[in-house]
Amino acid sequence: MSFEVPVATRRSVTGIPTGRLGIWWVVASEIVIFGGLIVSYTLFRLHHAEWAHEAAHTSVFLGALNTLILLSSSFSVVLAHKSIVENRPNDAVKFLKWTILGGLGFLVVKSIEYTTEISHGYTLFTSVFWSFYYIMTGLHATHVVAGMVAMGIVAQDVKNGKNLQRVEYVGIYWHFVDVVWIFLFPLLYIASGL
C-alpha cells in the first residue's frame, strides 16, 4: 500500500502526474461546456429583464440548502485527500462516503424542487428561462451522479489499498462540480431582484 505513483506515469514536461494532469484537462473541458451555457444564459438574461419574474419562482431556500450541502461535501472530500496524505486510508473511505451522502442529499433536494416546479406548470418547455434552468441544473445533476459513482469506485479501491492517489483526482472533479453550482445559484435563484 503506497501513495507514490510510478515515476513512469509522470509527465516530464509539466512535472505533473498523468492522472492529475488528466483530471485538470477534464476540468478545463468542463469549463467550456458549463461556461458556454452560462455565457448564453447571461446574454439572454441581460436582454430579457422579464426573466427576473420567472427566476422569482425558484426556491432560494432550497438553492441555498443545496449550496451548503455541496460546500460541506467539498469539505469532506478534501478531508479524505488529507487523510490519504497522512496515511489514514480508513478515514479517507469514511470521508468519501460522507461526500457520496452529500451528493445524494443534493439530488434529493433537487428532485423536490423539480417536482414542485413541474407540478406548478414550470417545465422544460414553459419558456426559454425554464429551458435554461432545467438544462443547466440537469447537466450539473448528471455530473453530481457521475462524481458519486467515481467516488464509490475510488472508495472501494482505497479500501483495498489500491490507487490512493485517485482520491485527490476525484476530489478535484468534485470541487469543480461545487464551483459550477456556486455560479448557478446566484444566476438562477438569487438574481431575481436584478
Binding site: V5, T14, L68, F75, S119, G121, E168, I190, L194
Partner: protein, 172 residues
Amino acid sequence: MQTKRTASSARKRKQETPDKDTAGIGAFSGSGVAQLADIVTSSKESQGGEHEHPHVNYPKIYKYLVILLFISVTGPMLGFKVVTLITAFGIAIVKALMVAGFFMHLKFERVYITYLLLTCLLFLFVLFSFIAPDILNHEGANWKKQPDRPVFNIPEPIANPDDSSSSDSAFE
C-alpha cells in the same frame, strides 16, 4: 529509493520555480482575500512525491465559505441592485476562488494548470464578446431587430383545486 528520488525531484522543481507560491498568494491578495494568508502555514512538505501540500486550515476555509453563503443569500434581500450584484456575484467569485485555490490546491499547483484554465476562460470571453453585440443591441447601422416572437406557448400554471389561494411562486 523511489521516495528519495521523488523528494529530490520536488526540491529541484522548487529551486527552479522559487516564486511560484508567492505569486499565487499575490494573486489572491489582489482579490481582497489577503487575510486568508494566515490559513496557510509556512511549513510545507513533499507528500509522496506528488507535489508540495501545504498545511491548509480546511475547517477555517469551510467556515468562511458558509459565512459567505449566508451573506450572498441575505444581501439581495435588502432590495438594492448594487448590493445584490456584489453579494450574489462578487461573493460567488470569491467563493469559487477559495474552493479552487485551497480545496483544489490550485494555489499550490504548477502554474501550467492556471494557464490552462485561464485559456478556457479566455475562450468564453471571446464567445461572450462576439455574440453580445448581436444579442444585446436592438438596432445597428443597416439592421433593426424584429420584435421577439414567443418561442413556446406558455401554459397557465396548473391550479390545485384544493388550494383556494392563488400564489405566483411555486414554493409559496
